[in-house]
């Protein structure tokens, strides 16, 4: 039987059909990418396929969990004792500080009540464990084991014992993705603790630090200054530590000072994180009240109701057109 010439994989030239198929799939992929980029399909699809995706995440994080468990299991007694001792001391110190602070906090609360502001020092947090999976090198993402079922929503800040870690950008039923503050796409309104200067801390391209690219030339900023969240922007509550400034130099444009800071949170090492539940009060003007058009009942009755366009009129509820009008317009 003579060998049939293999048409499917020729040695040098391919068939036109193969190229056409490639073009088809490339076009399909591009359409998918554009649609996803515009409409955020991926997350909706992920949410619906979460029943498959989440167990895979758990499976993928098993080696990391196993290593962690092994390091605890095989840690020697001396190390554990030392750690225990250190934690006890820390707790004692923290408690002592807290006791001192309690009185001040109470006084603060009273003064703030006098000033009629609603800032409170209480924290409503949920503790979450970090799921150890790789979201891609240099991607500054992290997964935690709380999700929509635990009441997590996108936009909630995530902190650890030392400072702000990031915010939740995407929620699955039982897990959520956190964007870290070091992500180049992340910006965080901060205030410099020593001087009260407000500025914005961006993530940086190469990972481990924060960049503050637009500090005024005349501003008093030094290495070692601490950064706190300023609460402006309405996402992060004010007063959480963000980082510490390492270097300050003029920006390449020469119009601003540029500072680099190290984040104070343990971005690589945290196992347990806290998800904050009370978002900062949104700064700026209050959201506009519901648009109050001319009240339907006040309008002069049209001569012929049959030809007039239908106006949706709440018939069941008692009509209070005058009060609706006054709440709609801000008092001047």
């Amino acid at each position: 039987m003579p060998l049939a010439r293999e048409e499917s994989s020729p040695l040098f030239a391919g068939t036109a059909a193969g190229t056409l198929r490639l073009i088809f799939y490339l076009a399909l992929a591009m359409v998918l990418m554009v649609l996803d980029h515009r409409n955020g399909w991926l997350w909706r699809l992920r949410y619906t396929t979460a029943i498959v995706v989440e167990p895979i995440y758990r499976l993928a994080s098993a080696p990391a969990d196993g290593l962690h468990a092994a390091s605890v299991a095989f840690a020697d007694r001396r190390m554990l004792t030392e750690q225990n001792q250190r934690l006890r001391e820390d707790l004692l110190l923290a408690n002592a500080k807290l006791n001192r602070m309690a009185a001040v906090a109470e006084q603060n609360q009273r003064l703030k009540e006098l000033l009629d502001t609603q800032h409170s020092l209480e924290l409503h947090v949920q503790m979450a464990r970090v799921i150890g999976i790789d979201m891609g090198a240099f991607r500054h993402r992290m997964m935690i084991n709380l999700g929509a079922r635990d009441g997590i929503r996108a936009g909630q800040p995530v902190i650890d014992a030392h400072g702000v870690m990031g915010q939740i950008i995407d929620v699955l039923p039982n897990s959520a993705t956190v964007m870290l503050v070091t992500d180049p796409d992340h910006a965080l309104p901060v205030v410099i603790q020593r001087t009260g200067l407000r500025t914005i801390a961006y993530g940086s391209r190469n990972g481990e630090e924060l960049t503050l690219p637009n500090i005024p030339m005349a501003a008093d900023v030094r290495a070692g200054d601490k950064l706190l969240t300023s609460g402006i922007g309405g996402r992060f509550p004010e007063g959480f530590p963000v980082g510490q400034i390492d270097t300050v130099q003029p920006a390449p444009t020469g119009m601003f000072l540029e500072a680099h800071a190290t984040p104070s949170a343990d971005l690589d090492r945290s196992d347990e994180v806290l998800v904050l539940h009370d978002l900062a009060e949104p700064a700026g003007p209050p959201p506009p009240a519901t648009p109050a058009g001319p009240p339907a009942s006040d309008a002069p009755a049209p001569p012929s109701t049959a030809s007039a366009p239908r106006v949706p009129m709440p018939t069941g509820a008692p009509l209070k057109p005058a009060s609706a009008q006054t709440t709609g317009t801000p008092p001047t």
């Binding site: 499917s8 994989s9 020729p10 040695l11 391919g14 193969g18 198929r21 490639l22 799939y25 490339l26 399909l28 992929a29 591009m30 359409v31 998918l32 990418m33 649609l35 996803d36 980029h37 399909w41 991926l42 997350w43 699809l45 992920r46 396929t49 995706v53 895979i56 995440y57 499976l59 993928a60 994080s61 080696p63 990391a64 150890g132 999976i133 790789d134 979201m135 891609g136 090198a137 240099f138 991607r139 993402r141 995407d170 993705t177 180049p184 796409d185 391209r205 190469n206 990972g207 690589d268």
Partner: protein, 162 residues
Amino acid sequence: MSRQRLSFWWFVGTLLVSLLLMLVPLPHVLEAFKPYWPALVLLYWALESGDQRITLGLAFIFGVCADLLTGVLLGEQALRLCVLAFIALRFRSRLRFFPMWQQTLAVLALLLNDRFLQLVVRAFAGESTPPALWWMSPFISAALWPFLFLLLDDLRMRLRLQ
């Protein structure tokens, strides 16, 4: 019959394991050096079984699954893996009979091309360009290629799978 089935599951299993390996975290220092496992396994099967197993459609679906898991941009890895599978299938008859070092170089070129594609896609998606260390991954992947190839080949021979 049973053997055929077993070899099918072996094929699916290696693909799934490569997806899992993509997600398993490395220590922070080594993160940038992580090989791109799905591409390597796909390449192995493209060279080994050719059209019978690896088609562009399969590469596409595999890529969409990987996208779903990493959550970057739906279709990014689908595009990259399609291109990879296409080139590998087109030059399969030659790549298969290359000596190992030449094959490794070819794999390196394929993966560098893949990274370049990823860079273009990311640039269009408006993401920032990654640091220089990000380009290390293809070299690590290519360095691992001979071992992966021999390991998978050996296992296949031992298990007498297709």
